[in-house]
Amino acid sequence: MSTLTPQPPPDLVALQQLVARAQAGDDSVLPELKACLAKHPELWHYCGDIAQGAIEALLNLVAGKDLLVRESVLLRMDEIRKTLAGPTPTPLETLLIDRIVVSWLQTAFCDLQHVSSSQEHHRRRLDSAHRRYLQAIKALATVKKLLAKPPTLLQISPFQRPEPMRGRGRGREHGLVAVEN
């Protein structure tokens, strides 16, 4: 059996250390962190390679030598990617979508195994895969919510006005509603 996981680039360790320091409250590493992300695009390629290797390993388990099943699963994965990606996904969104697709495939396979033979280790695998799937979805939702680009003037409709919001707190603004194209 061949090893599908590529070797991690050395800059990944440095990036992990910078992230750990920044999360601990050390804001002085932020410029270095930004520079590291900008100078090392191979980190994104590395994650893409791992995702591709994971998909190959799972496809071998799911489909085996059945080409019809293999192609059907690949089409379904592309459909999921297109649905989640939108028109212009960022590199981070693309990476997280790959993670969702991989987790979805693994969860589906573990679910099939658990249904066919209700053994304890199959149930544990299914729980672990499902948990990873939900984490991946949550990460993408967080990125889409926090890092979404603000709507342009062309996207804002001058003809729609929201109902006046009642109560305190968020949502008291009365303004124009952004409309997606």
């Binding site: 992230v19 990476l95 991989v102 987790s103 967080t142 926090l146 890092l147």
Partner: protein, 109 residues
């Protein structure tokens, strides 16, 4: 041992556990014993083959699991790095929040 030899004759016994206690049952001697022993050996070989196939399958499962798991750490690192450099902070492993930029305090008069 399933076979017991007494006075030159071989007798076949089956042992099993019931409620944690071992129980031995006499099967027979001669042809009956031979048939029972052959059937038990066949079942044992089938169980062993199933166990071997399951272990071989588990090796492939573990490899696929490892490759999926290998994606989590670096993708999580990049996810955190992008959010941190976009002025977000994760409060106590909870939600991510935008950093607050406090205005400079007014000069003392």
């Amino acid at each position: 041992m399933p076979w017991l030899v007494r006075t030159g004759y071989r007798y076949y016994y089956r042992s099993r556990k019931v409620l944690g206690r071992g129980i031995t049952t006499y099967v027979g001697a001669g042809d009956v014993a031979d048939q029972a022993a052959a059937e038990d050996a066949r079942r044992r070989a089938e169980r062993q083959a199933r166990r071997t196939a399951r272990r071989a399958e588990e090796v492939y499962h573990d490899a696929a699991d490892a490759s999926v798991h290998a994606l989590s750490a670096p993708s999580d690192t990049l996810f955190r790095a992008v959010l941190l450099t976009s002025d977000y902070r994760q409060h106590s492993r909870g939600p991510w929040r935008k950093r607050r930029v406090h205005p400079d305090p007014p000069a003392a008069t």
